[in-house]
Symmetry: C2
């Protein structure tokens, strides 16, 4: 077993330039994730800064601006769309409910600003496709999959690509949490199909095993099948209080995945190949002590490593690509495939039949 790939575990293999002008961000949607994870990451970073904050609520925007290190401008959503303060930022981070991503990306494209859009990129394939088409050739568009710049995921991807586990055969992945324990108010957008898209657990959590498997395998989904159920009162508007789904990838690998917004916090990813396996557990939540294991021929290497600030890694990568003119992973077309797969999963759960994931064109 060649463990060289595991040395310098947390290395930023994407980094070619260490010094550039900071990318100034307008942060759009000021929920707890933006306030407690995204803005602090930009404040920690030498490559980014938050100069503008944007909310539907003017008071909230002003409070967040005041509490921040560098944000001198607080805008309402309308003021943002009207093009106020466009000299004050270079890029936007869109962290509103899913079904509002498109409108902000469209305005950002109009103003010539790079777009870092939270996952899932939109509520429907149609709207995700509009976003891609609006940005393409105009402004950079990256979907904010923080697992793509998480070192343990990049190392797993490298090992799989290098053949360390032989040919991948099977994937297991799961993500669950207790949404109503985190947000005591059940009247929230993740449970509202108008804002979240077709469901709550697969859209918000199931996308992690789905997309991370894609990234680690370097393969795309071609067919899905799913079971879902909702029994709790709070989940009456969505089909998937809990769900399982299978994914057939274009390299032949099959994945068995699950997600629930009403279970204990848990996550894992494993890829079983013809010669070995890699596993990450816990896998998908922020600020956890992830562990990585590689097992080949009965020899198992368990790797503990110094955890990174995932949002800092993600923002730094995005800023680096903006300033160096590099490609973006995940770009909008990559994100669109997930939205198509997610909708196919919901369609399968409803129809009881496997559903082909439309080829992205």
């Amino acid at each position: 077993m060649d463990l060289n790939a595991l040395s310098e575990f947390a290395r930023r293999d994407w980094e070619t330039e260490t010094d550039h002008d900071p990318v100034r961000f307008a942060m759009i949607g000021l929920g707890w994730w933006t306030r407690e994870e995204a803005i602090p990451a930009t404040e920690e970073s030498d490559r980014c800064e938050t100069t503008v904050v944007v909310s539907g609520d003017r008071d909230k925007a002003e409070d967040v601006a005041e509490a921040s290190a560098n944000a001198d401008v607080a805008l309402t959503y309308d003021e943002f769309h009207d093009g106020e303060a466009t000299d004050e930022y270079d890029a936007v981070y869109v962290a509103t409910p899913n079904a509002k991503h498109l409108e902000f990306a469209e305005s950002a494209a109009e103003f010539g600003k790079a777009v870092l859009c939270e996952k899932p990129m939109e509520a429907t394939p149609e709207r995700a496709r509009q976003m891609v088409e609006r940005c393409e050739g105009e402004v950079p568009l990256m979907v904010a999959y923080r697992m793509h710049t998480e070192p343990v995921v990049r190392r797993a991807r490298e090992l799989v690509a290098d053949g360390a586990i032989g040919d991948p055969v099977l994937v297991h992945g799961s993500m669950s949490q207790d949404l109503l324990e985190i947000f005591s108010n059940p009247d929230q957008w993740r449970l509202d199909p108008d804002l979240s898209g077709p469901g709550a657990s697969v859209m918000d959590l199931g996308i992690y095993p789905l997309n991370t498997a894609r990234f680690v395998l370097g393969a795309d989904p071609v067919e899905v099948s799913a079971f879902a159920r909702s029994e709790g009162e709070a989940f009456s508007d969505v089909p998937d209080e809990a769900a399982t789904f299978e994914v057939r990838f274009d390299d032949g690998t099959l994945a068995a995945c699950s997600a629930s917004q009403h279970a204990v916090r848990s996550s894992h990813l494993r890829v079983v190949g013809t010669e070995g396996e890699v596993s990450i557990e816990p896998a998908f939540f922020d600020r956890q002590d992830r562990q990585f294991a590689l097992e080949v021929d009965g020899t198992r290497a368990n790797v503990d490593y110094e955890q990174v600030d995932q949002m800092l890694e993600e923002f730094d990568y995005f800023a680096h690509q903006v300033r160096t003119g590099g490609d973006f992973h995940a770009d909008g077309r990559h994100g669109l495939v997930d939205i198509e797969a997610l909708h196919a999963i919901y369609e399968s759960a409803e129809s009881g039949s496997a559903v082909t994931v439309l080829a992205e064109d």
Copy 2:
């Protein structure tokens, strides 16, 4: 977290009587498993002994009898069916290819002998049902799920029943091995649908996560969905060189499972509930150092325990129930549900639609 349930981890909670006359076995089908696992377990046991060995090959039967401690009688299959030496054994252990189980169970029932039948109990639901109907009311019939008497599985089942993880929500389970590395000859019965049933990986390996989930949850499958693929030449007669499958249980729990006869040896089982989770890894292969973990409210107990001889546990349990007149778990009707679920899984993989598992009546 109440860890009392974990004390005396390997206790035989089923044991009410420690001293009884040994149950004398006729071992039918003398493949490596019978020779290297089953017969040695009966030689180790105070509750069992192997007195008769039965093979399609007279020379093999005689060799095995000679090498054994107590087997004085070697029979061919025909001699067994003709009722030779019925005074020399009290029970049969059937470990032939799946599609031959029925005929031996039928003869055993005719001779009034208790039946311990390897899993899966037969190749088709029709034949499994015939076995149940032939034995019921006549002779004890138990399906040899060694996980049912494996302490870690019994402790997991108790914890789940006691509500230690809240309500179960999601299950993940997998089992894979490299069949052609274990048996270098690809011309073997597990790859022959006439002998194995509809496939190779789900029938032989997928039954472990399926059945162990049933046992740990105390729930039965009501609907399944599956993906399968075969690409390798050796797997050209079966659909499932690798497969994933989903199971909806009658308590609402959803399971995401996988199996492959052409991947690295790997297995795991985890049950995620509303309050915690239990996991067993490695889970399903004999003679492994299984580990058990219980995690509740962020507190994790990792349990290493002194491993048992699974076949000794299983044979001792069976003999104990024979001698004490107890019920048998798993009985034939329990095993029949698995055969129905396995066939539904293959039907789903072929049709692309979810399939209802017929209620056992």
